[in-house]
């Protein structure tokens, strides 16, 4: 069993126009930058993206936005992206904002075969409009649906050819849950190791969820807010 692909380009080559893509990361932390770049280079159109954020101008998913390849987006926070606002207001991009925990749980549910679940987040707000709301023990809960995708592009720290993955610090974020929810999960990893070298008790994403593994090229990781002890830079 060898899931290693020779390059990010090769790994994303069959993403078709109109595909639904989940893309890991929180802000610019833990984003699969090589896979995003390869997808931009592929030049597909009309993508439906699911990701907590939308990159920032000229970085991460910001590049996909600028390439005009995103038709719709589901996320929880898109605050650092001016182009996105223009596109949404101009009717060129269909944006759905979802509470972050609901987004994470919807993806987890999609991967776990749960078609719908009740959550308290958003009850009594516009998020609940048009959705079933039901009381449990006197409190209102909103029915939310599981989310799945055609492809998940995720970033991990170490992985093996069987697709087992571990993550580093808060770069984990949405990556493992998205890995479970796509028909084809492509993982970009900092280091490829031999099967058996990852502690079996500490594997976060078991290989069953991962279809393709790519060695990252070692780009510089971005820091959005460099805060330091004794005063921010």
């Amino acid at each position: 069993m060898n899931k290693i692909f020779p390059s990010a380009e090769a790994a994303v080559a069959d993403i078709p126009d109109g595909a639904t893509l989940m893309i890991g990361g929180f802000g610019l932390c833990g984003i699969p930058e090589d896979l995003i770049a390869a997808t931009v280079a592929l030049g597909v159109r009309n993508l439906h993206t699911i990701s907590n954020n939308m990159g920032i101008d000229h970085v991460g998913m910001g590049l996909m936005l600028e390439a005009g390849m995103v038709a719709s987006h589901i996320g929880s926070y898109v605050g650092e992206n001016k182009l996105l606002e223009e596109m949404v207001l101009g009717g060129r991009l269909d944006l759905t904002l979802v509470p972050q925990g609901t987004l994470a749980e919807r993806i987890r549910a999609g991967g776990a075969g749960i078609p719908a679940f009740f959550t308290p987040a958003g009850a009594g707000t516009i998020v609940a409009e048009g959705k079933e709301v039901r009381e449990f023990r006197g409190r209102p809960y909103v029915l939310e649906a599981g989310l799945t995708a055609d492809f998940a592009l995720v970033k991990a720290w170490r992985g093996d050819r069987m697709g087992n993955l571990v993550y580093r610090k808060t770069a984990r974020n949405f990556n493992p849950v998205m890995a479970t929810a796509a028909r084809c999960t492509i993982a970009e990893v900092e280091e490829i190791v031999e099967p058996g070298m990852l502690d079996p008790d500490a594997i976060i994403t078991p290989g069953i969820y991962v279809h393709r593994v790519v060695q990252w090229t070692g780009y510089e990781k971005h820091i959005e807010r460099r805060t330091l002890r004794g005063g921010t830079k």
Binding site: F26, G27, L28, C29, G30, N52, G75, S76, Y77, V78, G79, E85, V88, L95, L97, P99, Q100, G101, T102, L103, A104, E105, I107, R108, T119, P120, A121, G122, A123, G124, T125, I126, V127, Y167, R168, K169, T170, A171, R172, N173, F174, N175, P176, V177, I204, K221, H222, I223, E224, R225, R226, T227, L228, R229, T232, K233
Partner: protein, 216 residues
């Protein structure tokens, strides 16, 4: 003390030893600077971290280690990392003792609006809706009024809500107010505030039992 320091200092007095706390972006983040000596409080960051440490020393920043405000932070002995799904399972399940966050508006029924101003740049609610719907106790820590002096504490929020009936306590530089079925009770006054001043800058009538004690 400036307004932000008063608010953060006072909010820190709501902490208890052993509390697990989620701090929102802005003034709430500063609450961590005023944890009383000898008290252990563990900070949860909704991007997947329990045990958030201080900002790093120059040169030791790590792009893989940020808080929910995307600021570089550090880890502590006992820190644990987990996925966003696990993080919000923790929040939604009511395991976080206290959530302190900012607001655009709060009203006498404990409704909170802090994510959207119609017609302005859209940003998204991030994790705020999950946090306010689920933490065992929600404290709003914010400046009492807008820069132009307009009330942010209202009879009823006019902005789209983040959560309905979710706020327990409001802490500003002028006052501490508790949400009760009867309305907002003025519990404490800021260092130099008067009842009249607080009421004038508040958009709903406060329940006041004189004398009102001072914050500090």
């Amino acid at each position: 003390m400036d307004a932000r320091e008063i608010i953060a200092r006072r909010a820190a007095r709501e902490l208890r030893d052993g509390f697990y706390v989620n701090l929102g972006i802005g003034i709430p983040t500063a609450v961590a600077n005023y944890v009383p000596e000898g008290m252990e409080v563990i900070l949860q960051s909704e991007n997947g971290m329990l045990g958030v440490g201080p900002y790093p020393l120059a040169g030791s920043e790590d792009a893989d280690l940020v808080n929910a405000g995307k600021e570089t932070v550090t880890e502590l002995p006992g820190t644990a990392y987990f996925s966003s799904a696990d993080s919000f399972a923790m929040i939604r399940g009511g395991h976080v003792n206290l959530s302190i966050l900012g607001a655009l508006q709060v009203d006498r029924e404990g409704n909170l609006a802090n994510w959207m101003v119609p017609g302005k740049m859209l940003k998204g609610m991030g994790g705020a809706m999950d946090l306010v719907a689920s933490a065992r106790r929600v404290i709003v820590a914010m400046e009492h009024a807008t820069k132009s002096g307009a009330p942010k504490i209202l009879e009823a929020c006019t902005l789209p809500l983040t959560g309905s009936g979710v706020v327990d306590t409001i802490i500003t530089e002028l006052a501490v107010m508790r949400v009760t079925p009867q309305g907002l009770v003025l519990e404490e006054l800021g260092p130099e505030a008067t009842v009249e001043q607080v009421q004038r800058l508040t958009g709903c009538s406060l329940i006041v039992t004189e004398p009102v004690r001072r914050m500090f």
